[in-house]
């Protein structure tokens, strides 16, 4: 036997490995962990009492409420749009399919500020639709409907993007089997398609929700920043910070950070337990 150690062709030497690991860890610590810690440090900087008081302040409460309301509308809406779009794209052949897929991705490629601005131009005071709706007493821009619309637009791709590759990979065999056994379209969807995609759907909803609650750019443009009325949590954080209310700003921010952590934990659980059912092409 040769005394030379066998070198695994796809591994690196020890110093290289440790250097790489160190770089990654240092990067994570600097850019992810430190900001997260600072959020909580500042939030609790003047003690637990101040923290709780900051969160109970009426404007903060209304910001939290608004954020929950917006998410409660935007997430189910995008759940339905997402399922409908991916169902159509993955299970049927039609003209303009590639265009539709591109369209679904549009919110990812457009700056959120631009998407907010589009709604201002579409529904604002000097627009075509704005005065018309206003004559019926509907205010879109600088009000809750505008915030909901902007949020739906920005979070539109999450569910669809998660489902399309999975459903395309699963193909139409199961559905064909279901209808050949006498099921109607709805039954095929409910008993066969939905159970096949449920974990991926949950995953998409989770990401969609996180983004819906955290969206700043698009919402900032359409909101008008009316305290206690049209401020969502991220907007409220900015206002408080600009007012030098550090505890208040970071207090609200800590809730968003907690949401992020919760999302992360749920994501990890989903990925480890149902990884094969989440991504396309791994297992059948």
């Amino acid at each position: 036997m040769s005394s030379r150690a066998f070198k695994n062709p796809i591994s690196e030497s020890v110093p290289v490995r440790w250097t790489l690991i160190f770089i990654v860890l240092a990067f994570l610590a600097l850019f992810v962990l430190t900001p997260l810690l600072i959020v909580f440090k500042e939030a609790f900087g003047k003690g637990w009492g101040e923290y709780v008081a900051a969160l109970q302040e009426p404007d903060a409460v209304s910001a939290i409420r608004l954020t929950l309301l917006v998410a409660a509308i935007a997430v189910p809406a995008n759940l339905l749009f997402g399922i409908a779009a991916s169902w159509a794209i993955a299970k049927f052949e039609f003209r303009g399919k590639a265009f539709l897929i591109t369209l679904i991705d549009l919110p990812f490629s457009v700056s959120p500020v631009i998407s907010g601005l589009v709604y201002v131009l579409l529904f604002g005071a000097n627009s075509f639709l704005g005065p018309f709706l206003k004559s019926y007493g509907v205010q879109v821009v600088f009000a809750v409907p505008g915030i909901v619309l902007a949020t739906i637009f920005v979070t539109f791709p999450f569910v669809a993007r998660e489902l399309i590759p999975l459903m395309q990979d699963q193909g139409t065999g199961d559905e064909e089997a279901a209808i050949s056994l006498g099921a109607n379209g709805w039954q095929a969807f409910w008993y066969v398609t939905l159970p096949n995609i449920k974990w991926a759907l949950l995953y998409g909803v989770l990401l969609c929700n996180a983004r819906a609650m955290g969206e700043f750019g698009a919402v900032s443009v359409v909101s008008g920043h009316i305290r206690g009325l049209t401020n969502t949590m991220p907007l409220h954080v900015e206002i408080l910070y600009n007012d030098y209310n550090v505890v208040g700003a970071f207090g609200v921010a800590s809730l968003l950070a907690l949401l992020a952590l919760l999302t992360l934990v749920l994501r990890t659980i989903l990925e480890t337990r149902y990884g094969s059912e989440l991504s396309a092409g791994q297992k059948h």
Binding site: G173, E176, A177, A178, I179, S180, L181, G182, P195, N196
Partner: protein, 343 residues
């Protein structure tokens, strides 16, 4: 239930997958659609099922025009190539699915559905596995669950798409025999698609040989093997050799030399024969050439013989007796005993 396919044409994006195909399937018959991939055999099966719509033509179930009926209305049992079992349902739930989704008025009570599902599982010899999930079954077991599931709706016809395609050779053979027995017991009109000629010839009452969206020949195993009616069928089914020949004055010539064969019609033709349908010749006009390779195949020997001129050689494989001198380079003379000319 008889099925009549009348001048069916199917185009996918203007590319024709089937050209004016007509076929009569008798009641209670086990029929195979056999062909290479791209021959349109699966498309024909899916058209019968109603999973595809014909561009033109009609399909009759008995005397009833089913051409524009939906899959659900046609009431066919379809077994998919990869089974398409519902992975989140147990075996029993899979089998019961067709009954569970019936409208309330036609749906049997729960206990009855369960009883029928268990009965079907018993029929496909899977009793005791009803609580398993599809991924806990072997390929052959999944195949039988798929069959039981299709039978649960009491279909008028049974359609199987490459039923044994995804199984290993041994299970394939077992299931093949089993399906034949199953068919004889239940008496359903059964159509199955396969690219495996051995499977088709062994299993089916009649074989439909298809190529490039057309039916080449319909007949019993004996018909398509012994009396192929086209060069395609002759070369697709079983082993065969073919040579370019010319017929002049009733005699068949190969490369200008008489072959000892005679034919009625003059002209250029292709001579087809099977490797085992030859006899070695000692004298007289025949095919003669050097052996380029030979191999032992079970009880016989197959020799590859080079015929014709050296600049345009034709290679044919023939079966020779084990004691014949057929080493490389030795010259063999033979004459086909059964053969067919296609002009």
């Amino acid at each position: 239930m008889e099925i009549r396919v009348e001048k069916i044409r199917k185009e996918f994006d203007l590319y024709p997958a089937l050209h004016d195909v007509s076929l009569d399937i008798k009641s209670g018959e086990l029929i195979a659609l056999l062909g290479p991939s791209g021959s349109g055999k699966t498309t024909l099966l899916r058209l019968i099922a109603g999973l595809e719509q014909p561009t033109q033509g009609r399909i009759f179930f008995g005397n009833e025009d089913a051409s524009y009926k939906s899959v659900q209305e046609r009431n066919v049992g379809f077994v998919f190539q990869h089974y398409a079992l519902f992975r989140h349902m147990t075996v029993a739930e899979n089998v019961a699915f067709g009954l569970t989704v019936r409208p309330k008025a036609q749906r049997p009570p729960k206990a009855e559905i369960r009883r029928r599902a268990l009965e079907l599982l018993d029929m496909v010899q899977l009793s005791g596995l009803e609580k398993r999930f599809p991924n806990q079954l072997s390929g052959g077991q999944r195949q039988r669950v798929a069959l039981a599931r299709a039978m649960a709706i009491e279909p008028r016809v049974l359609l199987l798409d490459e039923p044994f395609g995804a199984l290993d050779a041994k299970v394939r053979k077992e299931l093949r025999r089993w399906l034949r027995e199953f068919h004889d017991r239940t008496g359903h009109t059964t159509v199955f698609v396969t690219h495996d000629q051995e499977e088709a010839l062994e299993l089916a009452d009649r074989v439909v040989v298809m190529s490039q969206g057309k039916i080449e020949q319909v007949g019993s195993s004996d018909d398509v093997y012994d009396r192929p009616n086209s060069p395609f069928v002759f070369s697709f089914i079983g082993e065969s050799a073919n040579l370019p020949v010319t017929v002049e004055g009733g005699a068949v010539f190969f490369h200008g030399a008489p072959t000892g064969l005679s034919a009625q019609r003059d002209g250029a033709a292709r001579l087809f024969f099977r490797p085992q349908d030859v006899s070695l010749a000692q004298e007289g006009p025949c095919f003669t050439g050097p052996v380029t390779s030979s191999r032992r195949l079970a009880g016989t020997r197959i020799a590859e013989v080079e015929l014709g001129s050296s600049d345009q050689p034709c290679h044919v494989e023939i079966e020779v007796p084990l004691d014949a001198a057929a080493s490389n380079g030795s010259v063999l003379s033979f004459r086909p005993t059964r053969w067919k000319l296609f002009y």
